[in-house]
């Protein structure tokens, strides 16, 4: 079975039937996995997953493979790009079908929390945190993800995630003059 990396992209974009067939065989596990994961939040049927996957292939070959011709191998691997395209296509499909619903246990607590309107939220000044610091804090606290998952995603080691998290919190505490609990214990 041909690996996606072995697919002749020129032949594929030129419409070679044999290359297209090999490409489909090589890519269906990935497209299938992405479609299933994306649509799991929407509680759609097996037929919907099949249709969403077909939508991905339609997009790829439509208008003489116009979308495929936009792929630039110098910027990212074919598998990664296909996975991103598959996800956005599956989301479009789901939105056309129905609203997303998620089991309550899968939703982070922070998303379910009722906002206490008596407490005004403090705005983080622009430039106080870097984009990466904000992203890591959002993953840790809004998404409730662990350090290992974030490290894998950002292609950095876990210690870097912890250190970035720590520096971000120091900046926030310093700016908002919030003492951290450890220092308070030592002082008290």
């Amino acid at each position: 079975m041909t690996d996606l990396n072995q697919i002749d992209l020129q032949a594929l974009k030129a419409g070679s039937k044999r290359t297209w067939d090999a490409f489909v065989v090589a890519s269906t596990p990935l497209i299938n996995a992405v479609a299933r994961r994306t649509l799991s939040a929407y509680r759609l049927s097996e037929e919907d997953i099949m249709d969403a996957a077909q939508d991905v292939y339609v997009r790829l070959c439509a208008n003489e493979f116009r979308l495929l011709k936009t792929y630039d191998p110098t910027r990212a691997g074919l598998s990664t790009w296909l996975a991103v395209v598959a996800r956005s296509t599956a989301v479009d499909y789901a939105r056309r079908r129905r609203q997303a619903t998620s089991p309550i246990d899968d939703v982070p607590e922070t998303a379910l929390a009722v906002e206490d309107r008596h407490v005004e939220k403090l705005r983080i000044p622009e430039g106080l945190l870097t984009e990466r610091q904000t992203l890591i804090l959002k993953y840790l606290y809004d998404e409730e993800r662990d350090v290992g998952e974030i490290a894998d995603l950002l292609k950095i080691d876990a210690q870097t995630v912890r250190s970035t998290h720590h520096k971000a919190l120091l900046r926030l505490r310093e700016h908002f003059r919030e003492e951290d609990p450890e220092s308070a214990k030592k002082r008290g």
Binding site: P29, I31, N32, Q54, W81, E131, L135, E143, D152, E179
Partner: protein, 170 residues
């Protein structure tokens, strides 16, 4: 009397902050998102994507899901999925691509060698012109055609005259 406030934990501090941006960040293209997932972007370019991902819960989840899927072996897809997808492209797609003719194939061949398209077109024109000149060009070709037609006509006339004289017994 002073009341000492209990210090906030990291999570409590974060929850007290308004973390939504006033202005929505720019949309992220599929190609840019893929490059970011692979860690291939420069620091500046990555920062732009990270700002967009941080601001969008759906994009944050997408990033985690895709990283998880791409990082492990995948189960086989239903056979029907491949059959349906393969049926989208027939041999007609290849024939349509070939309809461009020899010039399209020549340009494609040049592209595989990394030769710019303009250079290939110039080369094609030069080859065609040289061949034409070697063949004598338009003037000679026209003259030759006229000679052929004229000599054919002369042959026909001669045959008719011969036939005329022969039948009359002269």
């Amino acid at each position: 009397m002073t009341v000492e406030r209990n210090p906030l934990s990291d999570k409590e501090l974060w929850q007290r902050l308004a973390t939504d941006q006033d202005v929505a960040p720019a949309a992220v293209s599929d190609m840019d998102f893929a490059a970011w997932l692979e860690g291939r972007l420069s620091e500046t370019a990555a920062a732009r994507i990270e700002a967009a991902v941080a601001a969008d819960p759906a994009l944050r989840r997408a990033a985690l899901d895709l990283a998880d899927i791409l990082g492990k072996p995948l189960p086989e897809a239903p056979a029907r999925m491949a059959v349906r997808a393969q049926a989208l492209v027939g041999f007609e797609a290849e024939r349509q691509a070939r309809r461009g003719g020899w010039l399209v194939e020549f340009l494609s061949w040049g592209a595989t060698l990394g030769v710019p398209r303009a250079a290939m077109v110039t080369a094609a024109v030069l080859v065609a012109a040289s061949g034409f000149m070697l063949g004598g060009g338009l003037g000679q070709s026209y003259a030759q055609q006229k000679y052929v037609v004229a000599s054919n006509q002369a042959t026909e006339n001669s045959s008719e005259l011969t036939a005329l004289y022969t039948t009359d017994g002269i």
